[in-house]
């Protein structure tokens, strides 16, 4: 590609495609079509945001992390502690969750992002484990192993009460997710986002052309932490409970799985992988919670061996095959 053609391709890249409206139409339709599943729907929407935050670090910046749950849990505990100590205003709770998670992301990122590869992977795990241990041992504040109970969340804007059927929670999660998605979409199509892809694809060349690699990685790590914090705060506020497992390795692992099922580095992987995973979990794990893990583990192995790129990767391959036939 040369000159105007290349410019055109870049300009088209961030224009909205009609298909991008699909997840939102589905989300609104599901709200009316399955009233009994609305509480699960709210969880799915909040978890999509978590997976989106993981996609940003993993799919765009190429940082393999096993510690994303640290930020999710930090957001959840922040919102939870505020609500148990007399400040149940949801929007400021979300912002506080985002701020605390971002601060942890920034501070830990300053330290650990100097490393690469296995050491970095290790250190993300170590940071999450440190936070887990700290929260576990500070049980006078956090409830430790029993989780944080007794949250009182006020109505949104003082008007919309969180109802028993989860309707408010669903719409609240949907709106927050939509706003975050707009921001993330803008971010990845910006020159900043393009430079992240450059760093992922070829770090040396990015260094050579003078891109501030370290700074960019730190910024995206912090933004991703903030998003994960918002996601954790959403779950805490809508379920009125925070468990120690929010910070656990299981949670960091499953968010990667959900993302891989959908497809990494494509912005929409989260929207496909999370609902697939969570709906299947809801169906099967009630029958047998332990063996659920066997099947999900097997699925991961098969995905890695046979279907790299997840559902979206398969769709792309089908599409290119159809095109080449013509």
């Amino acid at each position: 590609m040369l000159g105007p053609e290349a410019v055109g391709s870049f300009a088209r890249r961030h224009r909205y495609h009609p298909l991008e409206a699909l997840p939102w139409l589905v989300a609104v339709a599901a709200y009316f079509a399955f009233p009994t599943y609305v509480p699960l729907g709210a969880q799915i929407l909040a978890t999509i945001l978590f997976a989106l935050s993981a996609d940003l670090v993993l799919g765009y910046a190429g940082i393999v992390t096993l510690g994303q749950a640290a930020f999710f849990g930090a957001g959840a505990y922040t919102a939870g502690l505020l609500a148990t100590h007399g400040w149940g205003e949801p929007i400021t709770g979300l912002l506080a969750g985002a701020a605390v998670a971002a601060l942890i992301g920034l501070l830990s990122g300053l330290v650990i992002l100097r490393t690469t590869g296995l050491t970095l992977l290790m250190l993300t795990l170590v940071v999450a484990s440190m936070l887990y241990e700290a929260v576990n041992k500070a049980s006078w504040l956090t409830g430790g192993d029993d989780g944080l109970q007794g949250m009182e969340v006020w109505p949104i804007f003082g008007r919309f009460r969180f109802d028993l059927f989860g309707n408010t929670a669903y719409l609240y999660c949907l709106i927050v997710l939509f706003l975050c998605w707009l921001a993330v979409r803008r971010l990845v199509h910006s020159p900043f986002g393009r430079s992240l892809v450059g760093i992922r694809e070829n770090v040396r060349r990015m260094h050579a052309i003078g891109a501030p690699v370290g700074g960019r990685r730190l910024v995206v790590y912090t933004i991703s932490a903030a998003l994960a914090g918002i996601s954790g705060a959403l779950i805490a506020q809508t379920t009125q409970f925070v468990a120690l497992s929010f910070l656990g390795l299981d949670r960091s692992g499953t968010v990667l799985i959900m993302l891989i099922i959908g497809g990494v580095g494509r912005l929409y992987g989260a929207f496909i992988g999370v609902p697939l995973y969570m709906i299947a979990q809801d169906r099967f794990s009630t029958i047998d919670p332990v063996y659920w893990f066997f099947w999900i583990g097997l699925l991961m192995v098969l995905l890695v061996v046979f279907a790299r790129g997840g559902v979206l990767g398969l769709a792309e391959r089908l599409q290119s095959r159809v095109r080449s036939r013509r």
Binding site: V64, L118, T119, M122, V126, M130, G297, M300
Partner: protein
Amino acid sequence: MHLSDTASAIVSIGFHGLAFAMVLYLISVGLSVTMGMMGFVNLAHGVFAMLGGYVLTSLMKDQGMPFPWALVGATLAVAAASIPVERLLYRRFYGGDELDQVLLTIGLDFMSVAAATYIWGPLQQPLQPPAWLSGPIDLGLQHFPAYRSFLILCGAVLVTALWLSVERTRFGARVRAAVDNLRMAQSVGIDTSRLFMATFALGSGLAGLGGALGADLLAVNPGYALQNLVYFLIVVAVGGLGSIRGPFFAALLLGITDTASKYLAPEFGAFFIYALTLAVLLWRPNGLFGRA
């Protein structure tokens, strides 16, 4: 002759720390070599250690096999079980994408939780050491638990044997060559595919033995592989990838720090270990004995 309280606390922390270090080293050394030589992040390494613990307890309880034979049985069973895993699954991911390896092996961890629950049930499998290893023994300075003393002795013998075989035998020379420079090793005619298989089986067998010997330190239960993953990874990362010696010193550091912090400041839990790991890796990102 008996020691003052402070001295006896120090001796006892050193003793229990050393026992824990031996278990950690036996389990983690194979992981270090897999990562350094094959370039494979094996987050499912703990599964082999867990399997060792399960095989040992079942052989003793169900077959009534004496403890030393059950140990040998557990080691061999795990080494044998690891070969098909390496040949069929791991081999194609050597030196490949890190994310693929992480996902594949976390998937195996998840499967191991369910499989262990299915076969052995959700409860912890207690280790019943034979009569000659139960109770305390007097080592002059003070009384020590006999089983832990046996653990340290076993560990010391194995570590010496392992180091000698890596330094002195032809197999060890091949391993060192492949870790140092894989392509060069291949071009001087070393059959690296077979070497990988043999090393992997040896590493897994040692992990199985470590898991079996350490069944009273790291409880054998279905969640074993994920619960202890961070310990094994710390030993490898702090020790330095591909090193045989590095993980030993890392395990010693970790074992003694862990024991001391549990003894002196239990309210902080495992916090100190993580802080120590962070500090070491910032000072030397490639580990204590890793090469830049």
